[in-house]
C-alpha cells in the first residue's frame, strides 16, 4: 500500500516536472523563433531595397535624356517627318487587306 502510494506520488511529481520543463522550453523556443523571424524580416526588407534600387537603375537607363545621350554617341539623330516612310494604310486610304487579316483585326482597325 505504501509503495503504491509512493509510486503514485512519484508519477505525479514526474508529470508536473515534465509540464514545467515543457513550459520553460516553449519560452526559450519562442524567443529563439522571434530572433529568427526578425532576422528574416530584415533580410526581406534588404532584398526589397535592393530590388527598389535595381528598378531605379532601369528607370534612369530608360529616361529620355539617357537614351538620347546614348543615341548621340552612336551618331543617331532625329529624323524629319518627311524622312519617315509610313507602312500600312495612310490617312484617307481604304486600307484593303486580305480577308484573314481583316478577320483578326479589332474593331478599331488595329491588328491583334
Amino acid at each position: 500500500m505504501q509503495r503504491r502510494a509512493r509510486n503514485s506520488a512519484l508519477k505525479v511529481l514526474l508529470g508536473v516536472s515534465a509540464l514545467c520543463f515543457l513550459y520553460a522550453w516553449q519560452g526559450v523556443e519562442a524567443t529563439r523563433t522571434g530572433y529568427e523571424i526578425e532576422k528574416l524580416r530584415r533580410e526581406m526588407r534588404d532584398i526589397e531595397h535592393s530590388n527598389d534600387y535595381l528598378r531605379k537603375d532601369i528607370s534612369i537607363a530608360l529616361s529620355p535624356a539617357s537614351l538620347e545621350a546614348k543615341a548621340q554617341k552612336l551618331g543617331m539623330a532625329y529624323p524629319e517627318p518627311d524622312r519617315v516612310v509610313q507602312l500600312g494604310p495612310q490617312r484617307g486610304e481604304t486600307g484593303q487587306s486580305f480577308w484573314l487579316a481583316r478577320f483578326f483585326k479589332r474593331g478599331n482597325g488595329r491588328s491583334m
Binding site: A30, T31, G34, Y35, I37, E38, R41, H49, S50, D52, Y53, K56, S59, I60, L62, S63, P64, A65, S66, E68, Y78, P79, E80, P81, D82, V84, Q86, Q90, R91, G92
Partner: protein, 555 residues
C-alpha cells in the same frame, strides 16, 4: 542500528535537504503568481517599444505608365564619438568610402560632444560599402527619400517633396493623396537591444499613386526645344505647353530656366498679343458681325484712332480681306473688326474662351489673368484689346482657348491627372474630361480654322509649317509688362499658338519666348520652336501626312 532508526534518519535528512528547494520554490511561486502582474508591467516598460515607421510616398506615372517620381530608402550616416574604437583610422575609412573631405570630418569630430552627423542620403552602394567596414559606433538610419528617375523631366510641374511632405507643384497639390502612411509595430527587445518579437498594430498600407496625362516623350521634346530656343535667343525665359484638344489633357508643360518653386505656365501672366486675334475673329464670325467676304482698309499701316492714340501695323497694308487681316496680323484691321463687334460681345467671348478665370487645375499660385471689368473699358481699350493688348493671360489660358478652336468650339477643363490609383492598379478615382462650355459655334470655328491655316501657308506663321501636315496657328508679339502692370520698353514677348492636323486636331501647342534679345517677333523665335516640337511629335507618334506637297488634303 535498527531499521526503524535508519528510516527515521533518512527521513530527517530528506526533510533537511528539502528545506532549501522549498524556500526557492515558495519564492518562485510568490514572484510568478502573486507579484506576476507588477513585475510584468515593470519588464514591459524596459523591453516593450512602440515603433512608428513612415512608409514611402505614392508614385507618379506618366500617361504610358512610365515612372516619373518614386520614394526609395536612403540612409543617414552618423557616428557616436565615444564608441569609436580607433577614431583616426575610422575617420579615414569613412572619408574615403563616403567621399567626404577628411578635414571636414576631422573638424566636425573635434567640435562634437558625442553624436556627429557624417553624411545624409546615402544610396545602396554607399550603405553596403559602409556595412562591410563594420565600424563600431557608426549609425545608419534609414529614411524615405524622393527620386525622379528621368532627372529634370517635368520637374517644374512635379515640384519638390521634403521630409514633411510636398513643397511645390503636384507634390504639394496632391500631398494628401501621396503622403506616406504611418505603420506602428509593438516590439520586445532583449538586453542587447535586438528585437525578440514584433507585432504590427497598424499597417499603414501603400498610399495612392498618381497617373498623369503627361506624355514623357512629348514632355522631353518640349523641354529640349524650350531650352534651346530660350538660350539661342538669349531670352529671359521660355514656356511650352502641349495639350490634347479633344479632352483637355496636358501632354507637356515645360519652362526654362527650370523653376522648382513655381509652376510658371499657370502662374505667370503676359499680354497674349496677336494670338488673341483668333478670339476676336471667332466672336465676330459667330455673332455674324462679319463674314469671310468682308474687307477692311488698313490705313496703310498707321491709323490715328484718337487724338493721342495711333494704332500701327508692322507692314503698311491697304485693303485686306478678313482672312488677310489675320494672315498679315494687321492690328488696324483687327481693331476695326473689334469695334464692329462691340464691347459686350467682345467681352462675352473673351470670357467664354476662359480669359479672366482660373482654369481649375488647382495650383495654389494659379493666376486668373488680368481682364478689367467691362464697365471700365473705353473705346480705345476695345480697339487694342481686340489684338490682345491691355489684358493679360496665363499661358494655360491661351493654349486652352486654342484647343477650344481646334476641337470645334468646346472649352475643355485642362487635365493633368488621369486617375488616382491604388498600388494594385485598380483605379480608385478616374478624372473624366469635362466640357466647361461651348465657346463658339461650329460653323464660325470651321471658318476661323481655315484662316488660321492660311496664316501658316501664306502669312506670318510660315516658319511653323511642317511639310505634309496641316498646321494652323497664329504668331504673337507683345510688350512685356512688369509686376506693376506697366509696359517695359524695348522688351517683347514672342509667341506662337497652333494645332494640327487641321480637320481632326490631336495636338495644340503654345510656345512663348519672353524677352528674346536676338530676334523679336513670334515668327522668328516661337514659330520655329513650334515647328521643331510638332516635327518630333509627328515622328514619335507615327502620325501620317494629311496634305500633299501643294497643301491639298490627301483624301
Amino acid at each position: 542500528m535498527s531499521v526503524p532508526t535508519l528510516r527515521q534518519r533518512i527521513k530527517f535528512c530528506a526533510i533537511i535537504c528539502s528545506v532549501a528547494p522549498a524556500i526557492v520554490f515558495l519564492r518562485l511561486f510568490y514572484l510568478q503568481t502573486i507579484k506576476h502582474e507588477n513585475l510584468s508591467r515593470t519588464a514591459s516598460k524596459s523591453f516593450d517599444r512602440l515603433v512608428s515607421e513612415t512608409g514611402p510616398r505614392g508614385r507618379i506615372f506618366d500617361a504610358q505608365g512610365d515612372l516619373l517620381a518614386e520614394s526609395i530608402v536612403t540612409w543617414d550616416c552618423g557616428l557616436m564619438k565615444k564608441e569609436l574604437a580607433h577614431p583616426s583610422r575610422d575617420l579615414d575609412a569613412l572619408a574615403s568610402t563616403l567621399k567626404v573631405p577628411r578635414k571636414t570630418l576631422g573638424d566636425r569630430y573635434a567640435r562634437a560632444k558625442n553624436y556627429m552627423p557624417v553624411k545624409k542620403g546615402l544610396d545602396r552602394a554607399e550603405y553596403e560599402k559602409l556595412k562591410e567596414l563594420n565600424l563600431r559606433g557608426v549609425t545608419l538610419d534609414a529614411r524615405q527619400s524622393r527620386y525622379y528617375p528621368s532627372g529634370s523631366l517635368a520637374r517644374g510641374l512635379l515640384g519638390v517633396a521634403g521630409e514633411k511632405g510636398g513643397l511645390s507643384g503636384l507634390e504639394l497639390l496632391y500631398d494628401k493623396v501621396l503622403a506616406g502612411t504611418v505603420s506602428k509595430r509593438e516590439v520586445v527587445r532583449d538586453a542587447a537591444g535586438r528585437i525578440i518579437y514584433g507585432d504590427t498594430l497598424k499597417d499603414g498600407g501603400r498610399p495612392m499613386d498618381l497617373h498623369l496625362t503627361l506624355d514623357k516623350r512629348i514632355q522631353f521634346f518640349a523641354q529640349e526645344s524650350v531650352k534651346k530656343y530660350t538660350e539661342s535667343t538669349r531670352a529671359r525665359q521660355g514656356i511650352v505647353i502641349v495639350q490634347d484638344p479633344r479632352n483637355g489633357n496636358i501632354l507637356a508643360m515645360a519652362s526654362w530656366p527650370e523653376n522648382l518653386n513655381q509652376v510658371v505656365p499657370v502662374e505667370w501672366v503676359y499680354e497674349p498679343g496677336s494670338t488673341f486675334k483668333a478670339i476676336t475673329f471667332a466672336a465676330a464670325l459667330d455673332t455674324e458681325k462679319t463674314s469671310p467676304s468682308e474687307t477692311f482698309f488698313c490705313e496703310n499701316g498707321k491709323w490715328q484712332f484718337a487724338p493721342r492714340v495711333t494704332i500701327g501695323d508692322h507692314e503698311p497694308d491697304g485693303t485686306l480681306t478678313l482672312s488677310q487681316v489675320l494672315e498679315r496680323s494687321s492690328n488696324i484691321g483687327t481693331a476695326k473688326l473689334g469695334i464692329q463687334l462691340g464691347l459686350q460681345d467682345f467681352y462675352r467671348y473673351a470670357k467664354a474662351f476662359g480669359f479672366g478665370t482660373r482654369t481649375g487645375l488647382g495650383f495654389y499660385g494659379e493666376s486668373s489673368g488680368i481682364m478689367r471689368p467691362a464697365s471700365k473699358y473705353k473705346p480705345v481699350d476695345l480697339a487694342v484689346g481686340s489684338y490682345g493688348h491691355g489684358l493679360a493671360a496665363t499661358p494655360i489660358q491661351v493654349v486652352n482657348a486654342y484647343s477650344a478652336i481646334a476641337n470645334g468650339g468646346l472649352l475643355m477643363e485642362p487635365r493633368l491627372v488621369a486617375r488616382v490609383a491604388d498600388p494594385s492598379r485598380n483605379a480608385a478615382r478616374e478624372e473624366k474630361p469635362t466640357v466647361i462650355r461651348r465657346a463658339a459655334g461650329e460653323k464660325a470655328i470651321k471658318t476661323l480654322k481655315r484662316m488660321l491655316r492660311a496664316v501658316v501657308t501664306r502669312g506670318t506663321g510660315k516658319t511653323a509649317d511642317v511639310a505634309g501636315y496641316s498646321i494652323a496657328g497664329k504668331t504673337g508679339t507683345s510688350k512685356t509688362i512688369d509686376e506693376y502692370g506697366k509696359y517695359v520698353s524695348g522688351k517683347n514677348v514672342a509667341s506662337f499658338a497652333g494645332f494640327f492636323p487641321l480637320d481632326d486636331p490631336l495636338y495644340t501647342i503654345l510656345v512663348i519666348i519672353d524677352q528674346p534679345r536676338a530676334f523679336n517677333y513670334g515668327s522668328e523665335t516661337a514659330a520655329p520652336a513650334f515647328r521643331e516640337i510638332a516635327s518630333r511629335i509627328i515622328t514619335a507618334t507615327g502620325l501620317p501626312p494629311d496634305v500633299d506637297a501643294g497643301g491639298r488634303p490627301n483624301n
